[in-house]
Amino acid sequence: MVQIALDHIYKKYENATNYSVTDFNLHIKDQEFIVFVGPSGCGKSTTLRMIAGLEDISKGELKIEDKVVNNESPKDRDIAMVFQNYALYPHMTVYDNMAFGLKLRKYDKTEIDRRVNDAAKILGLSEYLKRKPSALSGGQRQRVALGRSIVRDAPIFLMDEPLSNLDAKLRVSMRAEIAKLHQRLNTTTIYVTHDQTEAMTMADRIVIMKEGKIQQVGTPQEVYDNPANVFVGGFIGSPAMNFFNVIFKGDRISDEEGNFELEVPQGCAKVLNDKGYQGKKMIFGIRPEDLHTENAFLDTFPNAVVSATVVVSELLGAESQLYSKIGNAEVVAKVDGRDIKETGSELKLGFDLNRSHFFDSESEVAVY
């Protein structure tokens, strides 16, 4: 039922010369799990805070359920928000922290009690209701912060980097828990993070931002497979996509130093030709997992093999990451764990060109 519409939203802070958020357009469907992702300072938190009503909107319209709410105060927007540092009141017990919003809204005692206890049960906090936040672990505090939002039963959840204060292991488990919670409550959720893994694993749709502008909106699969520009290609996926400056000539691409020359698959070459890139500079991108070292691949595609020098190799267990150099260009390959190589050794890298990406060398926008 709830639908949030952001129409041409701009934000400029007082005394700032530049806009922090520029022309932000997005329509969020009911029950959707949206993740805003981007490097720090990209305007994702600002946008979230504008939706919450904690920041003024400089220009544009924000609608919740078809009603313009630009000038509504936060409490009238009926949203619940989880903060990065949890913002649990240190002088109140877990119970009082969770009941706070309900008490302010004058719910009756039995209703508050029922809701708090229900939420505590869902989050496994029933034993801790009488404790103060200082007596809880990081993960438990995080849960209380979630609980405080759940009890409100608000139709919209906003989460501002809720997991960034947790250690790596806890982050993974809380990630799954938040996803589960969303499946259970089906509340429209907007989640802000700088961690692309969180974005990929949790989102229905990801909004990738940079310097206050939306770079791409799409499902995790879409943004991974078809990044709209070099930035998205490099930001989503770990390790990041490899990029080479190349020249497209005939049906082949070659780097400027002549370290490699590769044949572009026919369908791709046709598109590049049609778009007028014949003989022009381009940015060629390929993901680390689309670089191969296994003999089967190298034997099957002898024309797609380039030699490289290993700089560092990292064994992660099941897989290893080979940081290598082709000429001066750095390249990362994600290969089988057994394919670990010594530093300085020669390496044959097979390029899976069917999975290559091409970007305009000036605008950096995806071409193919």
Binding site: N85, A87, Y89, H91, F100, L104
Partner: protein
Amino acid sequence: MKNKKQGSAQWLSLIFLIVLGVVWITPLLYGLMSSFKSNLEMQSVGFKFLPINWLFTNYTRLLQNTSNTPVFRWFLNSIVISGGSTILVLVVTSLSAFAFSRLRFRGRNVLFMFLLSTMMFPPVMNIIPLYKIMTTLGWANTPWAMIFPAATGVFNIFLIRQFMDNIPIAYDEAARIDGASDWQIFRIVILPLIKPVLFVVALFTFTGSWNDFLWPSIVFSDINKMPITPGLKLLQGMYVADIPTLMAGAIIAIIPTFILYLVAQKYFLQSMSLSVGVKG
């Protein structure tokens, strides 16, 4: 080698502090001891620390004389004045600090700077204008003459504001989203969190008001209305030759602040670190 050096440094500082402590406490203890001596002993015997005969008559006489020097009355007046000042200061300064720390309004920083700049003037400059104001309002010889001016303590506002600035704004924002008004944020969220600094302000205000001498001795002329500090001055005139009784009066006057210090030592120390901007 290093440990030895550190050890001797510690010994040196210990000795230094003991000497300093003795220098500070000797006059106080001498005053206390003298209050138990007879006037004759005080004047005839040379310097002697302990009384030869322990007498309590100085105290009883002092407390029983209610016509010229109503010490007990002064004591009560002082409690009313200091207590009243403390309550008013807490209310006014915590609210102003909240405004300066949390509310956004035009000219906030300019106003705050202006307030701070008033701290640069020596308080004595205020006395004559203030006296004029008090007599015009008809507050001379009433507790208000001391209680109201105390509420303008800019330093206290500054202290509380600094403390509040260290409380994450996310608390306010979370409360706001949950539907709290500014007043509710102050009352339910911020006030419980600033208790330590409020305690410090309360202690400073109470002792400051209790020990203030210059202002009350100007603004109070009615013997029955004045607090104990100008009262002590009257005692001096009355018992000019009776040092032990004077001492007894002084000892009575320091009892409340002394007890307060014993009870709240921890907070006094905390106040020192607060005032240099380190969170206690």
